[in-house]
Subunit: 319 residues, 4 copies
């Protein structure tokens, strides 16, 4: 045996790849688009034929990403999705669904002059040696609009199986938003007055899920959900079930919608924790508390994972 | 356009696939083996040539999965790994590394007669219509030995880059194991005396990680870590950083080792929460608190993800 | 062990998926679009940052797909590609490159009334139970425009490595187009006069390829080229080298640009055989001999495969 | 926009990866093993539960790889496959099937001292900087034994669907083996006497294939078959149908078992061309004409592709 190479720590880190813009195996979404480029969009591959598109629903889902309360940024995004393929007369053809959303309201000036604190720009520049003229490039909230479109189509598909996905805000900071709503709103008001931002948690429920979704080793339902949800910008924690199981005893443990990583037919529930928006001190249009807008993105990721597993584990019957 | 098929909810769920036994793209591990079959094992694909195998290290890693304290099961597992390919004279060849661990200590009787509470068997039978004669089939703790072998080789690879991965127990139940060690041990003793089990959290640190690991959209470092770690049996929560970011304000937020999902060169830290072992009331040999044995599995999954990203984002130089 | 399911041949074939619209692992192309829908297009994922786009080159490549000689269909396709993302000021950003080409010249009437012979429509309807109002859906020559865009970008990338890809027509029917050009043209004329069509072979050369492209087992360079090229509609044969090696003795064998499936630095050469266009007897606008238009598609597939292997096996240096 | 990196041709080629040891998406085979290491083997992932293993059949398939005629090498390979997982009482469990074949008859001396002509060793060393002590490493005929095991299991699976795969020798050199058998055998004898080797073509037929296998764009049935078959060492040509379609006119074209890349229910037929074995002049034990032993490998690759498409496009029913 002849050894010619040896390992050494690289003196210069060489990076070149910004791939991995696809999620899902049999119901997949590939996205494109910078936050301040011409358009964002994507391709949904694996959506079955004969599904009726509900464009109003998709538009409403996109609107949920827009400012809804006084705690959201006032950037006006006209998120009108244009479907380019895969649909004829409002019915899916089974072919890939290409779509795009044009970027219209681009205020680059807001972003240019301030050295932002802790944003993704530093690592981007280190990694790619090039950066779009402003904004966080691909790792921006803007990219998530394409996820919402993919998630909406996934929801329409899941609806035909009787599966629904919903979210609610669980905590603002460390105040329970349901049980102590008044306190939570006071906290939000205080954060706003101090030009600060705050994190929190969203609860997501998947109802109507049949038993059998997920694979027992690396593609457990919980594993795929965690990976998908953690890919949302600002998400830092994922807790399956009520999040309390690590503190419980076996005799107290009730169980959740999974056994061995595979759905058992019961309701699925998980919590998603968002860090506070980092850029609190600059003039850019950012959210004080992004939970209000982020709910639909959490649902989208959950819908994409569930639709993918339905395609992988279930079969579509003729009638 | 002619529509011939329509969607309907499936009356009978048809499942057939138990795939997804591979993790990683460029440094990947594929595992095989039932908990009570002839052997478990796997293939490590993508490990570079010229890496020196440290068999003692791998053996020690496997021993960490064995009972170490009085709070672990007393099942005697002789986990001797046999490498079948990819190594010559203790040096990797760059070819796939096949390995196996024979199953020796199989006490099927322990498992047969008791209807276990909340275990994976129900969903397995529903999904595959067939089950191994005992145990949880693939979704068992036994399968994780193959992960530890893969993780050990990944660690040896990462060491050549100066990257180290370590864990510590963070909480037993809801008691901090470091700050209140005495209380935590008292809790463990009480749980043991009541024939109960208890969950807890493990902290994992990745040191020496270069800036630039991860992709900005779906394959963020945090996303891949979450997906990998959540695939460990009994893991229910994943918290990046100290787990407190959702409760913080922007002005209090310190940041962690990631920016935009990509490592920034700082230390990576995350918490992994385990539910209590469910089968507390049967005669099978199970752990009272699985954190002690699970640490090495958490490290293995972190090492596999990090090695994969090193392969995807870094390049190996000749000297 | 309990057996609940048994295998049986399916009485009703259940198909649902039209996936696999992606080619490549590290330099990948995902395409969308029906031949007679709103637009076709795709996403190029993995193209490195800092590459200069040559729009004139891309336009010229697309024009090569259009009728150039009297033996091609006279359908007027205005293939103007619109890049939606991944490029700023003519320089790639390293982010996914979304693009589309609007479908303008759609004459559905031509296709509607004739029961076409041996076309893809039958299998499509069987498989998806739904069909676009005309044309061959996804398996049409129209879809290949997106491949040409992807291939053009791949060529620009390969050019930075000194790699060039070229084609020439090798045979028309069974007449060598270079050695017996006059006869070949007479054959074409005769085929045209009899309202018939004819097949033939294209030769493709990859020059400047470094040693080391390809993997030794399933992803041999020849294997990936064959798979990519055979995915072009109407392609039926793939011959690596001069196509004569199966008839040679070992003592006569000269070798080609591969050893063990991996490039050795010599020129790569292969032949691609097209069947005659099947729909000779209908009014639709089809080609008498598609080789003239198909050359650029063969080059595109070769470029996509080579670019993918460059990304998988080579590393991009800063200067 | 700031540009920091530029492209340049790499002065030093950096290779490190020998991945891609997996074929198939839903019925996949991952292989390991060097020609002269401890064992070769693999993991079959995605084989459904409840399939009866026919060990005699698998053994016979492996024997077909051994010397059968006077034109094959006399190396004695005792290919006894040991199944490690995924099977209980001769019935598959649906879990990954791990298997291995120990390497017993290793005569390294035969290979050591001769500088072989045109073998894979040169590119291997260039690429990996390390080589196993002898033989062609992974790109050897030995590795194909693992493919035969995977193919045998795939055949057993396909048999339950009424699908059978068979091969016959089509040509030796350029002599048709069926129509001119006497001449072909005379040619073989002459080649043997001159210590030479010779190439040829194998015909493969897939019978009983249902309509609907394959995807219309990149994963056409013909495309996947070509890619899989071209990954067999020494294969240089792939011709779908009878190989004559490129020389035909549209009016003469009969069609084959595919339409738009998808099976139409008719028989599938293709030709596979092997170059002559290159190392004719050395003492190693090699074949004069490898077609006799290679047939079973061609069938194995066809079976793996077909089984994968059955899993992707068909569903398994309970009865």
């Amino acid at each position: 045996m002849i050894i010619k190479y040896y390992f050494c720590r690289l003196k210069y880190h060489l990076f070149e790849k910004m791939g991995a813009n696809t999620i899902g195996k049999e119901f997949s979404l590939t996205t494109f688009g910078e936050s301040h480029g011409k358009a964002i969009g994507g391709i949904i591959d694996g959506c079955p034929a004969s599904l009726t598109m509900d464009y109003d629903f998709i538009t409403k889902e996109l609107q949920r990403r827009k400012p809804q309360t006084e705690y959201c940024t006032d950037r006006k995004e006209d998120d009108k999705v244009i479907f380019l393929s895969g649909i004829e007369n409002g019915i899916t053809l089974g072919t890939p669904i290409g779509f795009m959303i044009e970027n219209k309201d681009i205020r680059i000036a807001d972003y240019k002059d301030v050295s932002r604190n802790n944003h993704a720009d530093f690592t981007y520049f280190e990694k790619y040696g090039i950066a779009a003229s402003s904004g966080g490039g691909r790792a921006s909230a803007r990219e998530t609009a394409a996820r919402v479109v993919g998630g909406s189509v996934a929801k329409l598909f899941l609806n035909t199986y009787g599966i629904s996905i919903n979210t609610s805000i669980e905590t603002i900071g460390n105040i329970n938003y349901v049980q102590h709503n008044k306190e939570a709103n006071a906290l939000l008001q205080q954060v706003k007055e101090t030009n600060d931002t705050i994190g929190g948690k969203i609860k997501c429920n998947i109802k109507g899920c049949p038993a059998g979704l997920g694979e027992p080793v690396f593609d457990r339902f919980s594993s795929l959900l965690a990976g998908a949800v953690m890919s949302i910008p600002s998400v830092k924690t994922f807790e399956f079930g009520d999040g309390l199981s690590p503190s419980r005893r076996g005799s107290e443990y009730i169980g959740d919608g999974l056994q061995g990583g595979i759905s058992n037919g019961k309701e699925i529930e998980f919590l998603v924790g968002f860090k506070p928006v980092p850029s609190f001190n600059i003039k850019g249009r950012h959210d004080i508390c992004q939970l209000f807008r982020a709910s639909v993105i959490v649902e989208a990721m959950a819908a994409l994972v569930t639709a993918d597993l339905i395609k992988r584990n279930f079969k579509i019957n003729k009638i």
